[in-house]
Symmetry: C2
Subunit: 355 residues, 2 copies
């Protein structure tokens, strides 16, 4: 049997808390029998749920915490009130202490980010963490980052994101040399923002073994899956992510309206119901549930707050994949390049060389 992998879980995170989180862990355990769990939160709510599943009980430990970070707490407030003692903090701290290989929380994104930064710190040479999303595409899945950890990015930060994203793609898609693109705008007159152009020049010059840099991509390349990793800063990335989610919901509603309109369309819908089920599955946000915080000294996965047990299980399994495929070592290798060791000089050289 494979080595056991321990996941620390913020059992109180998300709109529901333990009643989704614990069954989610149970689902993940069926598919990944080498998982172990550390649940942090309200013992009285967690214990009965764990007890109800003998398999889960065997591989779980519950650590009681009194403090819960609320979904609407401001990050600063959450940090002040929840540091050192909340279920969220404790789950992150387990990664720092080496007790868990990855942490999963469906809690407040801002609070989880601030606490993760505070507790785990960023990897040496990385200025700030980013959030990576797994994006369903016509070719399978891509990674898009940053989808909202911070606003704006200079060329160096974009290059860092490219390295982090490529390491993640290598880990979870099993790719030798993932293709990477920088998100840009294609309107002739403007040809993109200066930081993006500079990051492109640097990535081209560095020609890292970790990735196959393919140049600029545009918004419509996201759905096509033109590259494995799409790099952008958090403002545009967050807007792209939410625009795509909104468009998918919009078309789903158009489709439902169209199919329920006449007797024939309802009959057609019934006959083709397997096809619609397949489509629904394709668009199921639970299957790609989980934003990954990259750039920290440890793996932290953010599940959607409103997910169900199946979705939470997907977030746990995502963390598990990254542990099995040694994401952290891949990132370290990606950064052990001239870019990292002599980063400023390399960047300066790239700048001079290009102009």
């Amino acid at each position: 049997m494979a080595e056991p992998i321990t996941i620390s879980v913020d059992a109180m995170g998300g709109d529901t808390g333990p009643e989704i989180v614990v069954p989610g862990a149970a689902i993940a355990l069926v598919r990944r029998p080498n998982l172990h769990f550390l649940f942090y939160g309200d013992q009285a709510r967690i214990a009965p749920l764990v007890e109800a599943n003998p398999q889960l009980k065997l591989v779980s430990r519950i650590v009681h915490t009194d403090v819960t970070v609320r979904m609407d707490d401001k990050p600063s407030q959450a940090l002040r009130q929840g540091r050192y003692k909340s279920s969220m903090w404790k789950a992150i701290e387990a990664v720092k202490a080496g007790e868990a290989a990855a942490c999963v929380s469906a809690g407040n994104t801002g609070a989880l980010m601030v606490m993760s930064k505070f507790c785990l710190k960023t990897i040496s040479g990385i200025e700030r963490p980013v959030i990576a999303a797994i994006w369903p595409t016509l070719r399978g899945e891509s990674i898009v980052l940053d989808v909202g950890a911070s606003i704006g990015a200079d060329a160096r930060q974009l290059v860092d994101s490219a390295v982090l994203g490529a390491a993640m793609a290598a880990s979870i898609f099993g790719l030798e040399r993932p293709t990477v693109g920088l998100l840009n705008v294609g309107v002739e007159e403007i040809k993109g923002v200066e930081e993006v152009r500079e990051a492109g020049r640097i990535l081209k010059d560095l020609d890292l073994t970790l990735m196959d840099y393919r140049g600029f991509v545009e918004g419509d390349d996201l759905g096509k899956g033109s590259v494995d990793v799409v790099v952008t800063e958090g403002f545009a990335g967050n807007i792209a992510l939410k625009t795509a989610e909104g468009t998918a919901r919009q078309i789903g509603q158009y489709l439902r309206q169209a199919m329920s309109r006449t007797f024939l369309s309802r009959l057609g819908y019934w006959l083709a119901r397997d096809a619609f089920a397949r489509l629904k599955e394709k668009l199921d946000p639970r299957k790609v549930n989980g934003g990954v915080f990259l750039g920290l000294n440890g793996i932290v996965i953010k599940s959607h707050g409103g997910t169900d047990a199946e979705g939470f299980a997907a977030a746990i399994e995502l963390g598990c994949s990254m542990v099995v495929n040694d994401l952290m070592a891949k990132i370290a290798r990606g950064l052990s390049h001239p870019l990292h060791s002599g980063r400023v000089e390399v960047l300066d050289k790239a700048r001079t060389g290009a102009s």
Copy 2:
């Protein structure tokens, strides 16, 4: 019969040129019999197409030009080679000269923007033009701007865009006081970019009669149609637009794959074919074909380069609506507010008041 409205047309613009543009004008004329046309371009190609349609011939004049701006010309190159003499330039110039009420071109976006700026100039007090797109939503249609005329925007430019977008919404949707939102990101920790927050404070303080300012919206509000006008800067706006287009195509392809898989799904598809036709029509990009350049001393519509005659007709009709509903006067009224007359002071006051 309604007053005649003359549209100046760059007959050489787009992937095809006159063979799409002239039939497009003919379609628009059927629906709007008070249209007149000024076609600029290659007489030898345009004339036979116009001759073929007696109705169209009656209301059209052809002005021969030798120079055509190519779809892949750089804007600066297009301006150098095409100024004063290309079909694109001449069509814009007709608006300046008062010979036409609006100009429509399916040509190169960057070139059309640069020439429009150079020829028509921006409205006094407006720093730079923006491109507005009509966005299909669950509630109907919204206006989103800027979708790529320029990158980045300070608070003042965002406020200008809000005024321009509200005037356009009033014109084409016939709304008294369109609702307006500023596109932002909702991640707790960051709460949006400073320029957007400042623009929000100013719009709230000004409380313009032209619009009902509703605060921040996120990417998923675009498809919902939460507000009539969504204001953002060109980088994020262009990425949002292309991401939505890409997502719609992606889901369309998923749907085709799902429906063609089994006999039952194909039968279901056949029975529900009216419903699918309705869906397709809903998603038909031709129906909302046309970006509008706002902030210039005149109306310029950019049609998609790859559109067909039906799509080009939609772009012409869009221009026509804006003329009929007096877009330019609405913009002037929107800007004749304290914001415009004493703009710097108002902004300073708003800034001070808010901090």
